[in-house]
Symmetry: C2
Subunit: 310 residues, 2 copies
């Protein structure tokens, strides 16, 4: 048994006017609770430090730089690193990253129990659009403010296991999990901010969006025999509602713990990394069962190519 | 609206001693019911003509050729083709194929409403093992009796839509759906024979195996915005129980109809192929959102390559 006690640290709404310092204070309170509960790892959502700003349109993109971090840790987030090191707790959280040479990414990091950043992931599957869209009930401008991640899907050895990261919309794409599965991933840390309303399909119920979220995460976990820790930012941010749905999913694809609120809330489970072994050695023993000679379209063809008309 | 009224024709158990003629008689009875219900397409399971013979070990593999068809149609199955043509109904079913040059495949065909075979698929993801395994509660010798399919994942235009096929274990592999999704598939026909008991994990409940089945099919449908018609052979074959779970899944990943028995049973739904359009044009608009530069492992690496030890 290789047990990691995980705290999925859901964050409630963060208003536009809320400071990083205030948010970090909430995150620290959750971390103290996680410590009291004996957790080894705490996982916060995507863009944990600010409101979900891609809903706000700036004609001048540079104005959005206010939402980005140009160093990590920085003054606002140093207390998180200090507390994690003091507690001997590993952590992961997402933030908007502005690089020294001016690139913008939707990023998450993995910090080990010594407070060292050991992994960085930059979101690859950016949803939404780049220009103002009058046909939507609300904007979702991730393609405006971020570039697609340039680091690929990596995994890292830490805490005696193999860890990967993904962010929000990545969870709907089976390629995300498979790239990490092919590296033996045992636990994927995945933060998200998902509006309760489909901006292009008002009739789509909140419940259906929750179903799609869980379906994607559970299938990714099962089909790669890995734990997935999916952590929401939830609640109403300046009138825009984000669904919750923080879940800890085991390597059989089953939800073993989930959030009950749309507020700051810890969802805790003791996760045995050895529970990944059976699936990886049987039904999903890739070496015996995958047939890559028939997967050629997947990484050579981006969009659909229809068959010829009869 | 492009509506196809689909009959998912679940078959109950077929005993080892049962003749093809007896089974075809059952299939014809289901087809007549489907016609009476106004269906345009009837879909039968994997290896529809015989018992699920890969549970039986033959030291001499050639003895298993008795389960294979060396021509299609043949004398036993011609009545199915005749009835389908008379009814103006398309159909699909699975069978064990022995080619003129001695190759063995787990095959399914798509027959149009004129009785012409317009598509053939040979199962790519063969589960199980090739040699007798004393550690299993029952044998699952697909890797002994079949070669992996050599035709790839294709789609066919017929009935005003784009159709694909897959078989049983293929449904657990997201590559299956994605290869067809990249060709614009609108409906996937998928037959299966799934033992209720995991031969390597007796403690795995029937309910958990049903969960994995549905999870995989529903995720594949949602993530490619396609209908999936998943049709079981069910019930107890010579004391070996196959789970049911025939489902018709819409392009949102929702089950719209499912079987209630483990016997011969029609599961019927009117399926609008235009229901695939919204997903294909928004969340799963592959051309806008897929990032193939980060999918390189998927078709260049069969098995797991672990990260270096720290």
């Amino acid at each position: 048994m290789r047990e990691i006690k995980v705290a999925a640290a859901q964050l409630g709404a963060i208003q536009k006017a809320e400071s990083r310092e205030a948010v970090v204070g909430r995150m620290l309170a959750l971390m103290a609770q996680a410590k009291a509960a004996g957790c080894n790892l705490i996982v916060y959502p995507e863009l944990a430090l600010t409101t979900f700003f891609p809903r706000w349109y700036h004609e001048n993109r540079a104005e959005a730089d206010v939402w980005f971090e140009s160093a990590m840790p920085n003054e606002a987030t140093q207390p998180l690193f200090d507390a994690a090191r003091e507690y001997g707790m590993a952590m992961s959280f997402g933030y908007a990253e502005l690089t020294p040479d001016g690139h913008h990414f939707n990023t998450s990091i993995l910090v080990d129990d010594k407070g060292n950043i050991v992994g960085k992931y930059r979101k690859i599957h950016l949803p939404g659009h780049a220009e103002y869209d009058h046909d939507r009930s609300h904007q979702h401008l991730e393609k405006r403010y971020f570039e697609p991640g340039d680091l690929g899907f990596n995994v890292w050895r830490t805490m005696g296991g193999i860890f990967g990261m993904a962010i929000c919309n990545d969870r709907r794409w089976p390629e995300t999990y498979r790239e990490m599965g092919l590296q033996g991933v045992e636990m994927i840390l995945l933060g998200f901010n998902t509006p309760s309303v489909n901006g292009q399909k008002g009739a789509e119920a909140h419940a259906q969006r929750m179903f799609h979220h869980k379906l994607s995460v559970q299938a990714g976990a099962y089909q790669n025999s890995t734990w997935v820790i999916a952590v929401a930012k939830a609640g109403s941010e300046d009138g825009h509602h984000l669904m919750g749905g923080t879940v800890i999913v085991n390597p059989d694809g089953e939800i073993v713990a989930e959030s009950r609120t749309e507020d700051d809330e810890l969802v805790i489970a003791a996760c045995d990394l050895d529970a990944t072994v059976f699936g990886k050695e049987t039904v999903f023993d890739f070496a015996r069962h995958r047939r890559i000679e028939h997967y050629g379209r997947i990484n050579t063809q981006t969009g659909v190519i229809l068959p010829p008309e009869a």
